[in-house]
Symmetry: C2
Subunit: 455 residues, 2 copies
Amino acid sequence: VEKLREYIRQPSISTENRGVKECAELTRQYLQAAGCRQTEIVPTEGHPGVWGWLDSGASRTLVVYWMYDVQPVNAEEWQSPPFEARIVEDKRFGANGRILRGRGATNQKGPERAFLNAVESVRAAAGKLPVNLMFVCEGEEELGSPHLHEIVNRYSAVLSKAHGVLMPANSQGMNGSNTVSLGNKGIVYMELEANGAASGGPVSAEIHGSNKAIADSPSWRLVQALAGMTDPSGNRILVEGVTAKVRRPTPAERDVYETFLQHYDENGVKRQLGLERFVGNADKREVLRRTWFEPTLNIDGMWAGYTGPGVKTILPHKANVKIDFRLVPDQSAAEVAALVRAHLDKHGFADIKINFWNGYDWSQTDPSSPIVQMVVRTGARQGVQTRVALRNAGSAPMYLFTRNLKLPVVAWGLGHGSGAHSKDEYMLIEGAAPMKGLADAEKGFADLLYAFAAE
Amino acid sequence: VEKLREYIRQPSISTENRGVKECAELTRQYLQAAGCRQTEIVPTEGHPGVWGWLDSGASRTLVVYWMYDVQPVNAEEWQSPPFEARIVEDKRFGANGRILRGRGATNQKGPERAFLNAVESVRAAAGKLPVNLMFVCEGEEELGSPHLHEIVNRYSAVLSKAHGVLMPANSQGMNGSNTVSLGNKGIVYMELEANGAASGGPVSAEIHGSNKAIADSPSWRLVQALAGMTDPSGNRILVEGVTAKVRRPTPAERDVYETFLQHYDENGVKRQLGLERFVGNADKREVLRRTWFEPTLNIDGMWAGYTGPGVKTILPHKANVKIDFRLVPDQSAAEVAALVRAHLDKHGFADIKINFWNGYDWSQTDPSSPIVQMVVRTGARQGVQTRVALRNAGSAPMYLFTRNLKLPVVAWGLGHGSGAHSKDEYMLIEGAAPMKGLADAEKGFADLLYAFAAE
């Protein structure tokens, strides 16, 4: 537990460049202490990566994908300081339920450090690991992994000799259900800006609101440009061409879907996300279909003019919005980005500026890949039924492994956490069933190492 | 000059309740010092008003409408602290050009204090004023004057015996052109909120952006609701019924319009507002028509989710926008407010909450009222051609005088300033022609008092 707390206490907000270098070095030290003979800080055009190679002389090699950066925080919204890593009693998880609250607790430092704890335990108990490990760590996942390809490319010769990739995760939901995820949606993240210089309206500063009779409003430009990108419900994407390459699920994918659906914990999902209903009053069948097989377009933030209390009448000179698309096979991030520009131009919004922040493609491991069933059996041995999820709605740049290196990738772990990208992020440390606490999560990873070795 | 600076140095931001009480008392002291035997702090349901009565035993009485509150500030955007009231050289106004920069310099403390300087000068030189004065001062103009009616009603018996109302103003534009304004647009200011509890979506906190597949987005709700309120240009109001009561200009109003248009300083207006072009590429004829005869719908501010630098992928649980309508005869503020609710309900946005902040009706002084030509002649005597403007696009609650008390109201003064509701607000203190500096502005007010007495 103290190792997890130490890791969380080292802030590593990539967006704000806060503590990133220090956390890279801490990660490298962790890998060294866990038995990697070769460790390196890997310079990139952005934040540095970390590489670690633990060669046990085994025949099988597992790659561990690792992110050491975390999301920004609104500290005042948290019940305890996000980088204090406080241990808190939580009766939701039974009489002696305890959680570790902190930024990165579940996304992703908690399960990552749990994995390393398992490695250290196996080495302490057995002398050496049954597998070789290669750690590929980046500090820019929350930025959309703009330079992970530099790290992967640098070690691609050795990486291509590996047999699979694991992203350690807290894969138990609110009812204890455990999933192994076979892929991620792709992402395109961009900021749109309407400003007076381009779209008419005040060029360099806000003006009195009564001047709407005289001046165009960049805020209205942005609202109208955005509005044309979805239907009135905000749930169907109308950007021309964006859904054209969405392919139909294969029969194997349909099987995974129907099986997963049988145990889909509708109320658990709602509770975890704080929802009273699903999108557009959909049922779970529709929600899972959207999650796995449909792209989405989300507004992450928008702002213009006066946002304080009470009345201030101004006509702001600029307006901004951050949006993200989540992509499914066979969409292409680069194509979607281009289609947004084309859509805006076609509909008379050539003046809207796009800052393309980042993006990458979806990833997909074949459901019939042996590593998938191996994980399911490992879960079963630990007393947890593990279900196969085709895709995580969240994005991670696993396409570098699945498509570029042809390696199967699984995101998995026992253990439970929530609050990623939100306030009061936590990982369960101890509690009554059905969710596993930290010790059992570590045991699951140890078991996985032996299972992977035995394949 | 020092009197102006002293008045500006006393902050009086009504929105933030900053210095308001202190400024009310300072205003009362000013009125007392200027010769009012009766002065009162007038309690209201909101910020207090101030009343002053200077009875000279004259036959004619002029009411002075006075606001002592100012707009909020983004201090870091200013070239000098907004409440320092710094005197700054400004070569735009000639070799020895000097301005007074500060919040309230032109809206409205500068010209108000200039008027009082004139009153004190006349009394010092002539022993007494040629007119009686009644000062009606409020500290909530920037909030939409929600309680001015309480102040006016309290003194309506004496006010109704007056002969006209003056709002002291810096009425010279960038080319020195001087206007007397005969009315104001009305206003309806409201905040719209979409939140997850009402519109579906996360109820109490933001969630990870990938959950757009599962959850409705209040941000999209707000964007779509807003978009339906205007055409794609953002310049034509589509809220049903809002424009129904807009009446056609009378022949007398058309005359004022055509005359004013002949001298409309197109480039001066653009320069003053920082515009490269007019709304929708309109010409000056169209712009003046919109300013005087058309209602507008403006976005004052909007906000949702993450507004910091770089990437953060969240689905915010609420989204807000502040909007204002500006109203013309014969629209009604109360009706427009109700029409917005009806429009949202009709188009499926009953979940959007409206916080109705404030509003009041338009005002209009008859162009043929004698006080209008009196002001024009006063300007001429001071060497400044004064043009009659039917309406100021900005809002002020003059309807309490024009419609309730049947008094003609003029907003006028020599002198020049800009930056109201924006950064670096200023009033010209001294400079080469064509704009008058402070001394000449005071002289203009003194002349006006005698002209008003002689009618």
